[in-house]
Symmetry: C2
C-alpha cells in the first residue's frame, strides 16, 4: 500500500483532466498551484477542446495521453467520474484524485453515482482519493492536487489527514496567514470510495518527513483496522484526532457534510480509546498543537514552570494548570537560589516565577533570560511558559535571548504568551514563531496545549 | 456607603500626595492620567519641595491644603502611609487611594505596618482604597487615580472590581489595544484595609453607568455580606466572578500576591454558589464576556443558530455546543423556507446553516445578510454566531449589512468569528467591533461566551 501512495505524494508525472485556461476555474487553479510550488515532474493537460494553455500542449482525451503517468487530478463534474476513472486505469495511471462533489453527501442520485464509481475504481486497478475532496499537498515533493489557490506552502514536519477539504483549502490558507509553522503532507479524504484514513495513517507512520500526525474524521471506515494501524503509528509519533460528530447532533450534521454514517458510534469510540491516539475536542487545537510540535519537541511530562509578570497570573494560571492536570512542581533548591539572585529581597522566588520585580532590577533580557535558563535546567521541569508583558513604557526587549535559551534545551519545549499592548504582542509573535518559539495570544492556551501534549506522551508510553 | 463612594468615583476636587515633576514617576503619571482623561474638577499637588509642576502650585504639606477636598491619591512609600492618612483625615478628605505596596503581602514588617494603617484609617474618618492598588478609573467622571500611563480610556458600560492592579494598569491597556469595548468604572482593591468588594459591588449595583460587573477576587472579606449584596445586585445586572486561588496550589500563590488567606475556602465557595453570581475560570473571559456585553444584550436563553461556510464547522461546532450546554435547535418552517430561497437545491437548509452554497449563488451580503435576518427573526433562536471565511479570492464583502441586521434585533446578540486569511479577519474585527459586533479570533470562543451568558441569565432568574 505504502508503495502505491508514493504515486500520490511523490509523483514523477501527473495529468490534469479538465484543465482550463480560465483563471479561477478549478482546472486552472490546480495547474497554477503545481507550478507555484515548483513541482519538477512532468505535467500533462487534458481538455476536449485541445489547443494550448499557457504554452503547454492540451491533449483532447485521456486516450491520447502517454502510458504510465503516475497520477491524475480530475476536475470534471461528478457524472463523468466513473468513465474517467476507467479510462485512466486503462492508461496505467496509478493514483487518481477526484475533486468533484455531488455524490452520496447530496442525494439519492449522487449515492447511485457513488456506487457506480466504486465499481469503476475496482476494475481500473488505480487507487482513488475522494471524491468530494479539495485534494492533497506534499510539500517535500513540491506538489499539490488542490484546486484552492494556495501559493507557497511553508515546509514543516506536521501532516494532516482530514475528512474535510479545508486542510488543502481555506484552513491551510488560515494556517499560512495566521500562524508560522510548516506542513509536510496534508490530505483531504472526501467521501473515501477507496483510500481511507488507515491507508494514509500507515503511509505517514513510515514517512520520514512527518513527525506528528493530525486527523480530522467524521467517520472511521474500518474501526478494527484503525485500532491496529493507529496503535502501531502512535507508538512512534504523536497522533491526534478530532472526531467530528461526537455528539448526536454533530453526527446528524456530519451526514449532510460528507454523508458519514454515525451508526458505528460506540465501536468507533472504543477503537479510538484503545488506539494510543490523543483525542481533541476543538478545531483550533488542530493549529495550536501543530504549532507546538513543528519545531519544538513533545514534552517528557506534565511538569511546567512559568514566568509571570503579574501576581494575578501566578494565581489564576496555577488554578488553570490544576484543572488541566498540568503540574506546577517545586523547583530544585539550586534553581530558587539562582532565581533569587536577580530578585528584590522581598519577593520569595518559587514556581510559578514572579518575574516583574527582577525585570525592574536588571531588565527584561537578564531577568527573563536567566530565569528561563534556570527553570529549564531544573530536573523537576518538563516545559516552560514565558508570559511577556509588553508596553511602550516598560520597554520592548530584543527577543533573541528567548530563542537562544530555548535552543539550549531541545527536549524541553518553551511557549510564549502575552499581556499588554496588542501591537507589541503581535510583533513579538511575528519575530519568535519563525525562529521556532510558538506564541499564543490568549494566556491560557499554552497550558491547554501542554496538557494535551502531556497526555499524548502518556498514550505513547501505553499508560 | 454609596454616598461616600461618590467621592472616589465622581470627585469635585482631588489632591495628589507625592506629586512629582519627574516623568515616569507614579506621582507624575497620576497627574498626567487625570489631565489626559480631561478631569474638570480641582487638582491640588503636594510635595515637601514645594515649587511648581507644569505651572501648577505645589503645596509643601497636607496641612497647607485647603479644607474639604473630596479625594487624595497618595503615592508615598508604605512607611509614610499611616501618618498621611491621619493628616488627610484631619483636613476633611473623605476618600483616600493608597498606591504603595510593601504591607502584609510582603513580610512581617509590612504586616505590622498594615495594622498601624488600619488604626490610622479608623481615626481619620476617611474611607481608604488599597494599599497595594494601582488605583481606580471612572470614565464618566473623566477621572482616574491610576499611576500606570493609560491615555484616553473608551467609555462603556462594563465595570471591574479586581484584587489585582492590572485592571487599572496593564490589563486595561491590553483591553484598550486588543479589544474594542468601553469601561465605566474599574477599581483595584489591593489589600483591602478598608473598602472591600462588597462596598464596591453595592455601589456599582446602583450605578446607572454600569450595566455589567466583572470581579476578580483572591479573597472575600465577609462571605455573609457578599452573599447578601451579590444576590441583590445580580438579580438586576449580570455579575461575573473569577475567584483566583480556587485550587490549593493557586491559593498558595495568592498569599504571595495579595496576602490573601485561603482559610475561608469552603465558606467562600458556598457563598458564591448561592449568590446569583456567574463563576468564570479563565482570565481571558474577563475580556471576552465584557466585549459581548458592552454593546450587545444578554441573550434570553441558550438557543443558538450559526451560519457556517464550512461543512466541518457545522459538525465540530455542533459538538462544541453540545458539550457547552448550548442548544442548536430546529428552525421554524418559515425560516428554513426562507433560507432555501438563496441556497443551491442540493443543500437542505437547517440549523446550523451551511451558507457557502448560497454565497456562491448570490454573494456574501445577500446570502449572509438574509440568512442572519431569517435566523434572528426565528422564535426558536436567542442568539446568532456568524462565521466568515474571508480570502482575497472568494472576495471581501462590505461588513455594514452585519451591523444593520444586528441592530434590527436588539434583544438577540450577534457574534462574529472567522476562518481564512488572517489580515482580512483582523480588518473585519477592527471594522465591526467599534460598530457594536463583538468578534472572536478562535472559532469556538463565541460559543463559550454564549454558554456562560446563558448560565448567567439562568442565575439572574434564580434557577
Amino acid at each position: 500500500m505504502a508503495d502505491v501512495l508514493k504515486y500520490f505524494f511523490a509523483p514523477k508525472s501527473v495529468c490534469v483532466i479538465g484543465a482550463s485556461a480560465t483563471a479561477g476555474k478549478p482546472g486552472n487553479v490546480v495547474i497554477k498551484n503545481i507550478w507555484d510550488l515548483g513541482f519538477d515532474g512532468k505535467v500533462y493537460l487534458v481538455n476536449p477542446r485541445g489547443g494550448q494553455i499557457e504554452g503547454y500542449k492540451v491533449y483532447k482525451s485521456v486516450e491520447e495521453l502517454p502510458e504510465n503517468i503516475d497520477q491524475a487530478v480530475v476536475t470534471l463534474p461528478a457524472s463523468l467520474a466513473p468513465e474517467t476513472v476507467r479510462a485512466l486505469g486503462k492508461k496505467g495511471v496509478k493514483a487518481i484524485v477526484l475533486a468533484a462533489s455531488g455524490f452520496s453527501e447530496v442525494d439519492q442520485v449522487g449515492e447511485d453515482l457513488q456506487y457506480e464509481l466504486i465499481e469503476a475504481v475496482k476494475v481500473s486497478g488505480a487507487r482513488v482519493l475522494g471524491p468530494n475532496t479539495t485534494g492533497h499537498v506534499s510539500v517535500p515533493s513540491k506538489y499539490t492536487s488542490s484546486f484552492f489557490p494556495l501559493g507557497k506552502i511553508p515546509r514543516g514536519s506536521v501532516s494532516y489527514i482530514t475528512q474535510t477539504g479545508n486542510f488543502c483549502g481555506i484552513s491551510l490558507r488560515h494556517i499560512m496567514s495566521a500562524e508560522n509553522y510548516g506542513i509536510a503532507r496534508s490530505c483531504g479524504l472526501g467521501n473515501k470510495v477507496d483510500i481511507d484514513e488507515c491507508d494514509l495513517l500507515e503511509f505517514l507512520g513510515r514517512d520520514k518527513e512527518t513527525k506528528s500526525i493530525f486527523l480530522y474524521l467524521e467517520s472511521i471506515k474500518n474501526p478494527k483496522r484503525f485500532l491496529r494501524v493507529a496503535r502501531r503509528v502512535s507508538s512512534q509519533k504523536p497522533v491526534f484526532l478530532l472526531k467530528g460528530g461526537a455528539s448526536d447532533a454533530g453526527a446528524a450534521a456530519a451526514v449532510a457534510h460528507t454523508g458519514s454514517l454515525a451508526a458505528d458510534g460506540r465501536v468507533v469510540d472504543g477503537a479510538i480509546d484503545q488506539s494510543g491516539v490523543t483525542r481533541l475536542n476543538k478545531y483550533s487545537h488542530l493549529f495550536q498543537l501543530a504549532k507546538a510540535l513543528d519545531k519544538q519537541s513533545l514534552p517528557r511530562g506534565n511538569r511546567v514552570s512559568f514566568l509571570s509578570p503579574s501576581g494575578a497570573f501566578t494565581v489564576c494560571l496555577t488554578d488553570i494548570c490544576r484543572s488541566l492536570d498540568v503540574e506546577v512542581p517545586r523547583l530544585e533548591e539550586r534553581t530558587t537560589k539562582r532565581l533569587q539572585k536577580y530578585a528584590p529581597p522581598f519577593i520569595r522566588m518559587r514556581n510559578p516565577v514572579d518575574i516583574f520585580g527582577s525585570v525592574g532590577l536588571v531588565g527584561y533580557e537578564k531577568a527573563y533570560g536567566d530565569a528561563l535558563d534556570a527553570v529549564l535546567s531544573d530536573r523537576n521541569i518538563d516545559a516552560a511558559v514565558v508570559i511577556m508583558m509588553l508596553t511602550s513604557e516598560t520597554g520592548i526587549p530584543k527577543m533573541d535571548f528567548l530563542v537562544d535559551v530555548s535552543e539550549k534545551y531541545p527536549s524541553k519545549p518553551v511557549y510564549v504568551t502575552f499581556m499588554g499592548q496588542h501591537e507589541h504582542n503581535v510583533a513579538a509573535k511575528e519575530y519568535l514563531e519563525p525562529r521556532g518559539i510558538p506564541c499564543y495570544m490568549q494566556v491560557e492556551e499554552p497550558f491547554e496545549v501542554l496538557s494535551i501534549l502531556a497526555k499524548c506522551r502518556m498514550h505513547m508510553r501505553g499508560l
